[in-house]
């Protein structure tokens, strides 16, 4: 370093630090606020919390459905990769598990797959469990990984493109085994030591683990749906005894996993012939949700042609699973209107806000919604997400009334997850 460099020294940096470290003490200066404060979340999630993942921001974000507020975020995955961000939760809600893939040079380089354990109050990583670098990435990723009902084992769906299932013991913080699952994808929890996957021949592959997380059995059921003619949506409703799947053609396929062997319930149709004739179909990215205790099944529907299974929904139709009757039709809130009002920071409460809602809803085309979620408490809310423009609306799941809108809910929402 030459002498000239001395003129304006490194001192500027140190000075900047020093000055804020020990400003001259004066009476009126005693206003300084503490630095370094970071908020933490309560130990138990509130009943209307939900997570919304975002493929462009590579994150999942926690919102409070009661306030519409963003509470915190977890970023997971590498640049350009990381479409699937589906968090799993320990039974006591103290930990969050996310299977993730990383590359040493952003879009390229050495790949490392891990299940990262996050502290659920700080949302900071607490541990990392290496797994085989085989995780599937797809959009939006509704059943890419699952946690066993006892909260101990995590299953991660792999495609290399060979299909397999990675098992992780999150209690012992270790990878236990990789199970080859040719022809079968996705993963759903089905008991304390059991997962199942769906297969191209319409069967389910039921994987049972032993106490150490090793494969005890992997048995394929008889085909219970036609994957070519009437495939099941990936999004499905979980209840105490099992799952309700809905098919592209609007048929409900109950799967009971409460017993030793999975049992297939009677399928039933969601649409009347007239509705089918009018082209009513289920569609979207995550178009199925169930409120387990009341047996209310929520489906995102639209009028469209065959193969329109990813089309945005214009309404949510609500069914009573016991009677198989439709009990409500909830129109989807206009995402463009919601987006514009979010940018304007306008609410829905005051008279002039309500007039703006009416005006914008009337003027702007309603481009529909792609994902729905229902919370599982006694006074559930229905969360409805539109991808483009990004919009999230919270409804009273029982009355169908709009409770609030979440402003600025990210850039490219993928899935909604309840903690």
């Amino acid at each position: 370093m030459t002498r000239r460099l001395a003129r304006l020294p490194l001192a500027l940096l140190v000075a900047a630090l020093t000055v804020v470290q020990a400003p001259p003490a004066r009476a009126q200066d005693d206003v300084a606020e503490p630095v370094g404060k970071v908020l933490t979340l309560p130990a138990k999630p509130a009943p209307h919390w939900f997570w919304l993942s975002d493929v462009l921001l590579h994150r999942t974000a926690l919102y409070d459905g009661d306030s519409g507020k963003l509470l915190g975020t977890i970023t997971a995955g590498s640049v350009g990769v990381g479409f699937v961000v589906w968090p799993l939760f320990s039974l006591d809600h103290r930990e969050i598990y996310i299977p993730e893939s990383y590359f040493s040079r952003g879009v390229r380089g050495d790949r490392t797959d891990v299940v990262t354990v996050y502290d659920a109050t700080t949302l900071m990583p607490a541990a990392e469990i290496p797994i085989p670098p085989k995780r599937a990435e797809y959009f939006p990723g509704v059943a890419p990984n699952a946690i066993s009902d006892d909260g101990r084992f995590v299953g991660v769906f792999n495609v290399t493109p060979a299909q397999s299932l990675t098992i992780v013991d999150v209690r012992e913080r270790r990878f236990t085994t990789e199970i080859q699952t040719p022809g079968c994808s996705l993963v759903y929890p089905a008991g304390p030591r059991r997962f199942f996957m769906l297969c191209a021949d319409g069967a389910a592959l039921v994987v049972t683990l032993d106490e150490t997380g090793q494969q005890q059995s992997a048995e394929r059921t008889r085909p219970f749906f036609d994957a070519e003619k009437d495939p099941l949506f990936e999004a499905a409703g979980r209840h105490d005894d099992g799952w309700l799947f809905a098919s592209f053609e609007g048929n409900v396929h109950p799967l009971d996993v409460s017993g030793e062997e999975p049992r297939f319930g009677e399928t039933w149709s969601l649409f009347s012939d007239a509705e089918r004739g009018a082209g009513w179909r289920i569609g979207g990215a995550q178009p199925v949700a169930l409120h387990a205790k009341t047996g209310r099944l929520y489906l995102l529907v639209h009028e469209g042609a065959k193969d329109s299974h990813k089309q945005a929904g214009s309404a949510i139709w609500v069914y009573d699973v016991a009677t198989r009757n439709r009990v409500a039709e909830i129109p989807v809130n206009n995402p463009l209107s919601s987006f514009v009002r979010g940018q304007m920071r306008a609410g829905r409460e005051r008279l002039r806000d309500r007039m703006l809602v009416r005006l914008l809803d009337a003027v702007l085309p309603n481009t529909g919604a792609e994902a729905i979620l229902v919370t599982q408490d006694a006074q559930p809310v229905l969360v409805v997400m539109s991808m483009m423009p990004p919009a999230v609306t919270v409804y009273d799941a029982q009355s169908g009334d709009i409770l609030r809108e979440v402003s600025e809910p990210g850039l490219a929402g993928s899935v909604l997850v309840a903690p």
């Binding site: 900047a16 630095v35 404060k37 933490t40 979340l41």
Partner: protein, 175 residues
């Protein structure tokens, strides 16, 4: 031209004094590096019995609303307001940690008419929050006036370099 603040004067005085000796400078460089390295320990002042925190409740409209870009403290912020991201105007949201190294602004509080020195600390650990974006440049300077530059990614001494949102912390009255 904004009036010179006490901060300016102290910086200048320190700079002049320190410029006299190169040996002292390198000792200070080491100290600086050490301070920067000592992550987790906030370098900025911890509470000193703060008696007279400016009371935002007295302010009407945007200037008193921490989720508004017009909030009085935000006069030299550039980023996303932590109050919209799960934090507050002075606390980081879960999933981030607060960078102890910051840029500085001087903002007038409309409630008492005083100018306050405000420290803008980045909350680091997650991708851009993308809510309540706010860019204000009162007294803001290019990157060669480092500690008055709001464009820099100010996540230093934190586990993560990814800035999520920024807080506005009142450090003291600038009289």
């Amino acid at each position: 031209m904004s009036p010179r603040t006490p901060l300016d004067r102290v910086v200048e005085k320190l700079a002049r004094g320190l410029a006299r000796s190169t040996s002292r400078r390198s000792a200070l460089a080491r100290l600086g590096a050490w301070l920067v390295g000592a992550a987790g320990l906030p370098l900025l002042p911890v509470a000193r019995g703060h008696a007279a925190l400016p009371d935002d409740a007295l302010i009407e409209g945007d200037a008193g609303d921490p989720t508004s870009c017009g909030y009085w403290r935000n006069c030299a912020i550039d980023g996303f307001l932590c109050a919209c991201c799960g934090g507050t105007e002075s606390a980081c949201p879960p999933g981030t940690e607060m960078s102890p190294i910051t840029w500085i602004g001087t903002c007038r509080n409309p409630a008492d008419g005083n100018d306050y020195v405000v420290s803008y600390n980045d909350c680091c650990g997650s991708t851009l929050c993308m809510r309540c974006q706010c860019m204000r440049t009162e007294g803001e300077k290019p990157p060669y006036v480092l500690w008055k530059n709001n464009s820099l990614l100010w996540c230093f001494g934190t586990k993560s370099r990814a800035v999520h949102c920024s807080v506005s912390i009142v450090l003291g009255v600038a009289k």
